[in-house]
């Protein structure tokens, strides 16, 4: 079993191919401590940009919804894997609602990297992997999704990468991700 500081959490929206569940199984087979959070049945309200997490309950959203389940789990993870259907080169609606609220547990400080300002980690997450799933991709959307994930990684000042899965390469893609995470 891996050390606790290398805990992997898979945040997975519904995909027809059950990509999140299959990845969890592959990681568990490799004896990697993994937790799957299937978000399809969870409900998360929008971030209303109300400032409550700064002015009323510092570091905590003032609205009660299922991020109360998700964020404590993310606080304990070192590697965050998002498995998401891709819409117009971006995350699914449900996944993005959660991602928007992750800012609450993000490091608020600014850092300088390569001469640019960046922000800090979400909790203690040091690696971010996003697996975009589509029945089929076109090249422009591939570039858009990869670019978005790379910007996410850049702004959080952590490691990671994007993977693009479709019906033809999903098994190989999950194998590659599991292999990469087990190193």
């Amino acid at each position: 079993m891996r050390r606790e500081e290398n805990m992997i959490t898979i945040l997975s929206d519904y995909t027809r191919q059950e990509a999140g569940e299959r990845l969890e199984q592959k990681l568990r087979e490799r004896k990697i401590e993994t937790e799957l959070i299937a978000i399809a049945d969870l409900y998360v309200d929008p971030c209303y940009s109300c400032g409550g997490c700064t002015n009323k309950t510092y570091g905590q959203c003032i609205h009660r919804d299922d991020v109360d389940i998700i964020l404590p789990k993310l606080m304990r993870t070192d590697v965050l894997v998002m498995v998401t259907p891709v819409k117009w080169g971006s995350y699914s609606f449900k996944m993005k609602r959660i991602f928007d609220k992750c800012a609450v547990i993000g490091d608020r400080h600014y850092y300088c990297k390569n001469g640019e300002l960046v922000k800090g980690k979400i909790g203690r997450v040091h690696t971010f992997v996003a697996i975009g799933v589509k029945a089929q991709w076109d090249d422009e959307e591939k570039r858009a999704f990869k670019n978005l994930v790379e910007e996410n990684i850049k702004i959080m000042n952590i490691r990671g990468r994007a993977y693009l899965a479709d019906d033809s390469n999903l098994s190989d893609c999950l194998e590659t991700v599991a292999e990469g995470l087990s190193k």
């Binding site: 929008p46 971030c47 209303y48 940009s49 109300c50 700064t54 002015n55 309950t57 510092y58 570091g59 905590q60 003032i62 609205h63 009660r64 109360d68 389940i69 964020l71 404590p72 789990k73 993310l74 606080m75 819409k87 117009w88 080169g89 971006s90 995350y91 699914s92 609606f93 449900k94 993005k96 609602r97 991602f99 928007d100 992750c102 800012a103 609450v104 547990i105 608020r108 400080h109 600014y110 850092y111 300088c112 390569n114 001469g115 640019e116 300002l117 909790g123 422009e140 959307e141 858009a144 670019n147 978005l148 910007e151 996410n152 850049k154 702004i155």
Partner: protein, 233 residues
């Protein structure tokens, strides 16, 4: 008279996105447009007024904040609903404006790309966008208050000219508007902002540095609702 609809994609009705929406509205009014501003968030339960406004317009201008490198989640919801209600889409011009805290164009540009891809799949004519950096710092104040205020105003003006003429607006305009400073200046800015952040944290949170979400038995009781987190769930 041409009709345009400006959609405020921000959850806030006052703030930088609305400042830009009002700026855009005034400009188009001066070019003899009939302009309507509609807000996404108050219409989330029933998007029909918003869909109707889109249907009636020849130009759609979507203006919103950048949350983690693209528009907030509910923009995706709006696009999904528009895709389901294709009868409201009939080749309108679509323009995108995104504003965020970081001064760099690349941080926010994915939002524009999302709208461009949506337009391509749904029979809209994507005509370009504009990125405003340091929008969070502005907090609703006019563009002239930015460190690069003069240039940002001028380039945004060129963008609005293109919107009024229903012409393509090139990315070079917002690239030109980006604040360009040496890395050392950003490092100093980071130190100043971090001091402010720490001061704010001490005032609000005292010496408790941990996030409340790190406490597994946390009792989250607010807004009259009781709920205890069960982290094993």
């Amino acid at each position: 008279m041409k009709k345009a609809v400006i959609i405020n994609l921000s959850p806030r009705k006052v703030g930088t996105s609305m400042m830009l929406a009002n700026h855009c509205r005034e400009f188009l009014l001066s070019r003899d447009y009939l302009v309507k501003i509609t807000h996404l968030y108050p219409n989330l339960k029933d998007l029909s007024p918003l869909l109707a406004a889109i249907n009636e317009a020849e130009s759609i201008i979507m203006i919103g904040p950048c949350y983690i490198n693209t528009y907030p989640a509910d923009t995706v919801y709006l696009l999904e609903e528009l895709e389901k209600n294709q009868n409201n889409l009939h080749g309108q011009c679509l323009y995108a404006v995104i504003q965020g805290g970081m001064p760099y164009v690349h941080t926010h540009e994915s939002g524009l790309k999302m709208l461009e891809l949506f337009a391509g799949e749904n029979g809209l004519r994507y005509k370009g966008g504009f990125v405003i950096g340091m929008g969070a710092m502005l907090n609703g104040q006019p563009l002239s208050k930015l460190l690069n205020g003069k240039k940002a105003e001028k380039m945004f003006g060129h963008f609005l000219e293109n919107v009024a003429k229903q012409e393509n607006s090139p990315a070079v305009l917002y690239h030109e508007a980006q604040l360009k400073m040496p890395g050392l200046v950003y490092c100093i800015m980071a130190k100043i902002m971090n001091r402010k952040i720490e001061k704010e944290r001490r005032e609000k949170q005292g010496d408790q540095k941990k996030s409340p979400y790190e406490n597994p038995g946390l009792d989250l009781r607010h807004n009259g609702k009781d709920r205890t987190i069960d982290c094993k769930r």
